[in-house]
């Protein structure tokens, strides 16, 4: 029988290009490569920052110099040369005083390609969006609607100038500069990112969203997000990421800090689709990210992530459950294909009484990729009646990929209840044939199986993101069964 075989499918997949791999010719201002105190000062100066901020950065830089790049993760890559990266790049046309209508037409065209026309964003319901290209925030929509509720949503650079008291109070409190190598680096050189403050008792009426894009070659992206939900408030926040296809590896080292004060709730969703590298494993983004949230009394933080991009991912969105009765959740889908490597998971640190955490992790590996879940559930002596439920499922496609699970549990209080479940399965020829026999072709069949596998997590995403994430999963895995 001459059949369109899975090998044919595989070939088709390999030639399938990364949809967001275009580069936009924007006139940019890029700093010379390399990193030293002068560069740190220059970034701070460029951003017209107050002295305290400059000092904070310099302090972080000093710490970073004394640190080693971590190598405990289950990933293999050529360590970046930190002196060969440009630490600041900005599209030139950006001027904070300009309105959206004055945005560089090339930039607007780029948003259109990304499927996020800023024009439409203005009309679109319920999503206020901040867009960060390379190093700077270029547009924040809906500012006015939000400010009527007292919500502050702006780039972090603006926040440093306009709301220094809030930034000073919270920046680095959840992820201290010396937390880890990449966090220290980020603290020294971060050039932009989003800042958000939800006042007491306010329920944010729309999804807040940040869209990150690396455009310029040879640059790193180091954005910083700080989100504070004051007592009894609620916010749902989304972030999305893409980058052009390049042969070199690009570094992305972000820090996200969430603070949920008493009775507040933060839902933080990420769809990460940085360029994963070519089918031969060339190029791709190194995604070394530190995300952590702090829960005060009765507060709740939910991390949901769909990770399909990046050549190497090192990322553990975590919760510190400090307040009594606080809740931490982590829902993750991580897809690796070709030569991608992901080491991702979460840390749930239980400090308060009656704290609860839930971890649902779905890893999908295809091609020659390696996908690891790494998680820590820590119950402190003070955490009476803490509970955790963890579930780690792995789905394998073909015979050349790997799935790994590294769950760590540390319990110092006897009243803790911890459950851990793990499964590993393979998309079977039998499943595919069953679908084929019902008239469903192989690609659609894989999408069906993968969506079924990921459903618990996809359901946690806001509607409009869930559809996009589902499509992304299909694109990332098309034809990869073997």
């Amino acid at each position: 029988m001459s059949k369109y075989t899975e090998d044919d499918l595989k070939k088709e997949l390999e030639t399938k290009e990364y949809e967001y791999g275009f580069y936009t010719d924007l006139e940019s201002e890029t700093f010379p490569i390399g990193l030293n105190e002068d560069i740190v000062r220059a970034i701070s100066k460029k951003k017209q920052e107050p002295q305290w901020m400059t000092n904070w950065r310099l302090e972080a830089f000093k710490v970073w110099q004394s640190m080693q790049e971590p190598d405990w993760a289950n990933v293999n890559y050529t360590k970046p040369d930190f002196q060969a990266i440009a630490y600041y790049s900005a599209p030139k046309a950006v001027d904070p005083n300009k309105t959206l209508d004055d945005v560089d037409p090339e930039l607007v065209a780029m948003y259109k390609k990304l499927g996020i026309s800023v024009d439409e964003q203005k009309k679109m319901n319920n999503v206020a969006i901040d867009i960060v290209v390379d190093s700077v925030s270029v547009a924040t929509t809906f500012k006015k609607t939000l400010s009527e509720k007292g919500i502050i949503f702006m780039s972090i650079s603006e926040a440093i100038k306009e709301h220094p008291e809030l930034v000073k109070k919270y920046l680095g409190t959840v992820v201290p500069t010396k937390d880890n190598f990449y966090a220290a680096l980020n603290s020294a050189v971060f050039s932009d990112g989003s800042f958000c403050y939800i006042p007491k008792g306010v329920r944010c009426p729309m999804e807040l969203s940040t869209y990150f894009r690396i455009n310029q070659a040879g640059t790193g992206q180091f954005e910083r997000t700080l989100l504070i939900a004051d007592q009894g408030s609620y916010v749902s926040y989304l972030e999305g990421c893409t980058a052009p296809s390049r042969d070199e590896n690009q570094l992305h080292a972000a820090v996200v800090e969430l603070i949920a004060l008493d009775d507040a709730e933060i839902k933080y969703s990420t769809v990460q689709n940085w360029y994963p590298g070519s089918a031969e494993g060339k190029g791709g983004v190194y995604n070394f990210v530190t995300k952590r949230g702090l829960c005060e009394k009765n507060a709740k933080i939910s991390w949901t992530q769909v990770e399909t991009g990046s050549a190497v991912t090192w990322k553990y969105p975590s919760c510190i459950l400090k307040g009594d009765n606080s809740i931490g959740e982590f829902y993750s889908i991580a897809v690796t294909n070709n030569y991608q490597q992901a080491d991702t998971g979460t840390k749930m640190i239980h400090l308060g009484k009656n704290t609860r955490s839930t971890i649902i992790s779905k890893g999908i590996s295809a091609g020659k990729s390696q996908n690891s879940y790494r998680g820590l559930v820590k119950i402190n002596a003070s955490a009476e009646n803490a509970r955790n439920f963890s579930q780690c499922d792995s789905l394998l496609m073909g015979n050349e990929c790997g799935a790994h699970t590294f769950p760590y549990i540390e319990v110092k209080n006897k009243t803790a209840q911890i459950e851990h479940e793990a499964t590993t399965s393979k998309i079977g020829e039998d499943q595919i044939f069953y679908c084929n026999q019902r008239g469903i072709d192989t690609e659609k069949a894989i999408a069906l199986v993968v969506n079924g596998f990921s459903k618990e997590v996809l359901n946690k995403l806001p509607m409009e993101f869930a559809v996009e994430a589902q499509k992304l999963l299909e694109i990332s895995l098309e034809g990869s069964v073997g």
Partner: protein, 249 residues
């Protein structure tokens, strides 16, 4: 409708079918019987187009069109349906979602738009009632944690939804108690009409009390060694397969 001409087939270089010919017309019910390992399920797989099974010689046509070069899904689009002996599980995909996808993929192949949701719901309700299927069942993950009877009932439900031209029931009676068997057989009988055909593959005569065949064929060692009417099934029930073997010698 279905013409199988002198078909030889092998799996992993092992010859299983050794010259099978069979002609099935619209409106007919054929039963395929035979001992374990005779090639009954292989025949079902080779008609449905399962990849591991290689057709080494012969021809299979549906309404005169050769289907041996077609992929399994293309054969499905032509109206071939296989009720699996061991239906597979797909966690997280509900029965409803699965059948909706299948119907719309079949429509797409015919150049039709997706079936409107209201029509889909109406059809699901109608067919579920026909097979006495609890509506709650439809939102469960496909075959996950289903009992043997539920799995088979679900297969026939899908058949009812897809309305195939040719339905092959591979050991549909295995794992069913008598009540479930009656429900399934009753469903098949209601779906049967002058325009479609059914091939029932079974070990035992039991199912044939409820789905009455027009023809009975006995497969042994990859060949049809005897064909007859319903009467043949009774004889097999009574005497087993040995007497045919002896007859052949």
């Amino acid at each position: 409708m279905l013409q199988i001409k002198d078909v030889y087939a092998s799996v992993e270089d092992k010859d299983i079918l050794k010259g099978i010919s069979l002609s099935v017309n619209a409106g007919e019910v054929h039963a395929i019987m035979g001992p374990n390992g005779a090639g009954k399920s292989t025949l079902a797989s080779i008609i449905a187009g399962k990849e591991e099974f290689e057709l080494t010689k012969g021809e299979i046509t549906i309404d005169g069109e050769d289907i041996t070069e077609l992929d399994a899904e293309e054969r499905a689009h032509k109206g071939v349906f296989l009720s699996f002996q061991y239906p597979v599980e797909i966690p997280g995909v509900s029965v409803t979602n699965f059948i909706k996808t299948a119907i719309n993929e079949n429509r797409k192949a015919k150049g039709l738009e997706d079936m409107p949701a209201s029509e889909m719901l109406k059809k699901i309700k109608e067919k579920a009632d026909l097979l006495e299927i609890d509506r709650k069942f439809l939102s469960r993950s496909l075959n996950v944690g289903f009992s043997g009877g539920e799995k088979k009932r679900n297969e026939i439900f899908q058949m009812a939804m897809l309305e195939p031209k040719l339905a092959i029931l591979d050991e549909t009676d295995s794992g069913l108690d008598i009540d479930a068997l009656k429900v399934v057989a009753n469903g098949v009988n209601k779906l049967k009409n002058k325009d479609n055909a059914v091939i029932v593959i079974t070990h035992y005569q039991r199912l044939l009390d409820y789905i009455v065949p027009d023809f009975v064929h006995v497969i042994m060692d990859g060949k049809i060694v005897k064909s007859g009417t319903k009467q043949l099934a009774y004889e097999l029930e009574e005497k087993g397969y040995d007497w045919i073997k002896e007859e052949l010698v």
